[in-house]
Amino acid sequence: MQESGTMSARIFLISLSLALGLAIPSAARAQAIQVVDAWSRPTPPGIDVGVAYFTIRNAGKSDRLLRVSTPVAASAELHVSAMTNGVMKMEGLSSVEVGAAPVAFEPSGRHVMLMGLKHPLKEGDVFPLTLTFENAGAVRTRVKVRGTDGKGTGHSGEKH
């Protein structure tokens, strides 16, 4: 009885360590980078450009957002709107450093520009967005299309 008890304990420990051995790296990867509160605005008819905003949280070591993609648009670029001498300029970002502090993509600041939208975005729609990081690899989030005023459909806090 004791023998078999020890045996099953051993098997349990082996399976546990195997399971942990397999699970830890992917769990750590998934948890280090979180993309939360992803939202977008509805687009007027005939307009095939759109936007996506979100916040990136990083619990791990410093990482770098390299690119974004979504099936709803032909292309997606990392941009920043910045005021220079009272003039709003929009510039492309080749990558975005993500350290310990949360990085916000928000109106009139860093944002993802969606180009060649395949259909207009409507309030209440949810579409996938994949963010690719240097270390963490691909992190998927779901983008909620809010009302034209950026409100109306509430908190979109999808965590992945």
Binding site: P42, P44, P45, H79, V87, E91, M115, T148
Partner: protein
């Protein structure tokens, strides 16, 4: 007694401030600047000229429809400001105008679809570079296109201001970015207050 004195002091302070430049989320011209003639076209192909600014307050924003971030953000706030002013009974004859500085891409049809999406009351207007310059220079709006622009998705650098033009077609104030509906509505309320309390 003390309370009455303080209240009186506040009331006196408010009264004496009438006619002075109110503080808003932007700036108010101490001497409003008369706008000279210009000629643009609305999204319906109708002329939009100096006369269209007379007899009502106009909120004018300059941008372009391919702008993904700043323009939709500002227009959404302006639409909310319109609602706030409507609710406050301060919207009798106001007009809200989106002037596109990108006439090449912003056809009348596109303008119509765009402005109507934000607010049914919004008016869209644009014109040739020359026609635009006749208005933008007076308001201090700057815009420029990237060199060798091609394709459809180039970005236009532009002043992202909301100009407030008074019923005498004078540039009265400018709301500077990032504009919020409450800031626009509150600023407008203050401007109306000083005009009524002052000589006007």
């Amino acid at each position: 007694m003390a309370v009455a004195a303080v209240a009186g002091g506040i009331a006196f302070g408010l009264l004496t401030r009438s006619g002075e430049t109110p503080s808003i989320a932007g700036f108010v011209y101490p001497e409003p600047r008369a706008i000279s003639p210009f000629r643009l076209n609305t999204q319906d192909g109708k002329p939009f000229e100096l006369g269209a600014l007379k007899g009502r307050w106009s909120f004018v924003y300059f941008g372009y429809t391919y702008c993904p971030d700043v323009c939709p953000t500002t227009l959404a706030e302006l639409a909310r400001a319109h609602k706030l002013l409507e609710d406050a009974g301060l919207d009798a004859s106001n007009q809200y105008v989106f002037v596109s500085v990108d006439p090449e891409r912003d056809t009348p049809k596109r303008l119509a679809e765009y402005v109507g999406f934000f607010d049914k009351k919004f008016l869209g207007a644009t014109g040739s570079d020359e026609a635009l310059a006749a208005l933008t220079r007076q308001i201090g709006v700057f815009y420029s296109f990237p060199e060798g622009r091609k394709g459809r998705t180039y970005a236009v650098d532009h002043s992202s201001i909301v100009a407030l033009i008074d019923p005498d077609a004078r540039l009265h104030a400018v709301f500077t970015p990032p504009q919020k509906a409450e800031g626009i509505a509150d600023g407008f309320r203050r401007i109306l207050g000083t005009r009524r309390g002052g000589s006007g």
